[in-house]
């Protein structure tokens, strides 16, 4: 476990996400809890791919958002909450950093994690094996996680996902035209 407070900054990462107003984190916590509980209930087999890493804490760092996510994918003790990035970070086995839209497209099974790693848009530090297990577990979930989350919130959720998908697609096109 590492408590390294180092904050990787991706090339080109900006300070804030343009579509959302600042959100008090306490409002996010019950939503995140509901999301992770639903995903776990719908996909009990996914934890097998995590092996002993299911007990580990992962730090998921959308570098262009004001918060980070803290995940323990343990079916016996699920934990998923938002953290203020200016606070001292709690212990974690690994940290996965990338822009919010890139992380979203990973969860939407539209983006390949290795490709984001090759382009340096995804940064992994800490226990690489734990991250690989988490990636494989999430990738084998039947319905894309982004879609499951959107469905939980009905039409507004699906509308928001579609908007984010379009934003991700446009960002991808912009990146392609600059490369």
């Amino acid at each position: 476990m590492t408590t390294a407070p180092q904050t990787p900054r991706l090339p080109g990462a900006s300070g804030g996400f343009p579509f959302l107003p600042p959100l008090p984190l306490f409002l996010l916590q019950p939503v995140l809890k509901r999301i992770v509980t639903k995903i776990a209930a719908d996909n009990p087999d996914m934890f097998d791919r995590l092996g002993h890493h299911r007990h580990a804490y992962f730090l998921i760092d959308p570098v262009d958002m004001p918060f980070m996510l803290y995940l323990r994918p343990d079916p016996e003790a699920l934990d998923f909450k938002a953290l203020n990035r200016r606070r001292v970070l709690p212990p974690h086995c690994a940290r996965i950093s990338g822009k919010f839209l890139d992380l979203l497209t990973l969860m939407d099974t539209e983006q390949d994690g290795d490709a984001l790693f090759f382009s340096r848009d995804l940064i992994v530090t800490g226990d690489t094996e734990a991250v690989v297990c988490l990636r494989n577990a999430l990738d084998d979930v039947e319905e894309p996680i982004a879609e499951s989350v959107a469905d939980m919130f009905g039409a507004p959720g699906r509308g928001a996902l579609n908007m984010l998908r379009r934003a991700a697609e446009n960002a991808q096109k912009r990146k392609g035209s600059h490369s």
């Binding site: 180092q6 791919r49 290795d114 090759f118 690489t128 991250v131 577990a137």
Partner: protein, 332 residues
């Protein structure tokens, strides 16, 4: 003209379903043990998952080829025998094998099972291939990535079995003992444990200036500048200091992927029976995109049309690609 089968990778049941849905003629995949040369954590199939996946594939008209493509340590073949028996019981369409003991066992106990010779066996001469066909009933040979199209054409005319060539993915040339390098550094063998650069031995370290170091075991094998694309943490693609160059140097291979999309018509004309896409360790997003792109390309060529080749460079290692030895022996 033979229409080549599209042989597609799957590291998870979800990836297998993506490959089937995207138009794979066959999917290759393996179990969660040392019989499988992609024996990575969190990846691969349990027997139950394999059974369900074979049914899904067969329902979609897709074959399933099971990778038993590692070499059993002397006197310890039981794991491979059990995997072969299981594959036959589950109705797999072929086993991809590297070791003659495994091939001999399948031929003797499950003679109805097709045997494909893995690239790991590195058979590329007519004499070697004929030996495998005559002695073990091998039906297809997966060629090492060291041959030109012209050499493949000549080989096809001389051998009594089908030929499969890689067309996309990792450009790892399994020659000259390079796979032993990972054993030296990590204590685990690609050829016998199925794990090249196991993730437990890999660390990425990021410096204040944004550069990133790749550490394998106790060794730093590459350091990428902040704006430089990265590659896999494999020792055969490490960048080393040596007397021949002033700076770090990719002494064995560069972080680059094979992409033979422009060579497909030539390979079809050469009589290749199957095209293989590498990437069982990749996500289902990769599988979906790459399989769909090559499905469209192969179908267009067979229909006499100019193939539309999707831009797959974003999915390639280091975001660089090459036709490799298919085009020229001087691919570097």
């Amino acid at each position: 003209m033979i229409k080549p089968e599209l042989i597609c990778p799957a590291g998870t049941p979800a990836a297998l379903r993506s490959a089937v849905d995207a138009g794979a003629d066959a999917v290759y995949c393996g179990y969660q043990n040392a019989t499988n040369a992609r024996n990575f954590v969190g990846l691969n199939f349990t027997p139950e998952e394999m059974e369900k996946s074979i049914k899904y594939a067969h329902d979609g008209g897709t074959k399933v080829l099971i990778t038993l493509n590692t070499f059993p340590p002397a006197g310890n073949v039981q794991l491979w025998k059990d995997a072969a028996d299981l594959s036959a019981k589950l109705g797999a369409d072929a086993c991809i094998v590297a070791d003659i003991a495994v091939a001999a066992y399948i031929q003797k106990t499950n003679p109805q099972m097709r045997i494909h010779l893995s690239v790991q066996a590195a058979a590329s001469s007519p004499e070697a291939i004929r030996y495998y066909v005559q002695e073990f009933g091998v039906k297809r040979i997966v060629l090492p990535r060291i041959m030109t199209v012209s050499e493949i054409r000549g080989l096809v005319e001389e051998i009594p079995c089908e030929v499969e060539t890689f067309i996309f993915g990792n450009h790892g040339l399994m020659v000259e003992g390079r796979c032993s390098l990972t054993n030296y550094v990590t204590g685990q063998s690609t050829n016998m444990d199925g794990a090249c650069s196991p993730a437990s031995c890999v660390k990425y370290e990021r410096a204040e200036d944004g550069s990133m170091s790749t550490i394998l075991g106790d060794y730093m094998i590459d350091r990428f500048k902040p704006d430089e694309t990265a590659g896999y943490p494999t020792i055969c693609k490490g960048r080393y200091k040596c007397d021949a160059r002033d700076d770090g140097y990719y002494a064995f291979e560069e972080p680059i992927s094979l992409n033979a999309s422009t060579m497909l018509p030539d390979l079809i004309n050469a009589g290749v029976h199957a095209f293989k896409i590498e990437g069982r360790q990749r996500s289902r997003a990769y599988v979906k995109k790459v399989v769909a792109a090559f499905r469209e390309a192969v179908d267009s060529i067979m229909a006499g049309q100019e193939p539309k080749l999707a831009d797959l460079v974003a999915l390639t290692e280091g975001q660089k690609h090459t036709e490799g030895a298919l085009k020229t022996k001087k691919w570097r």
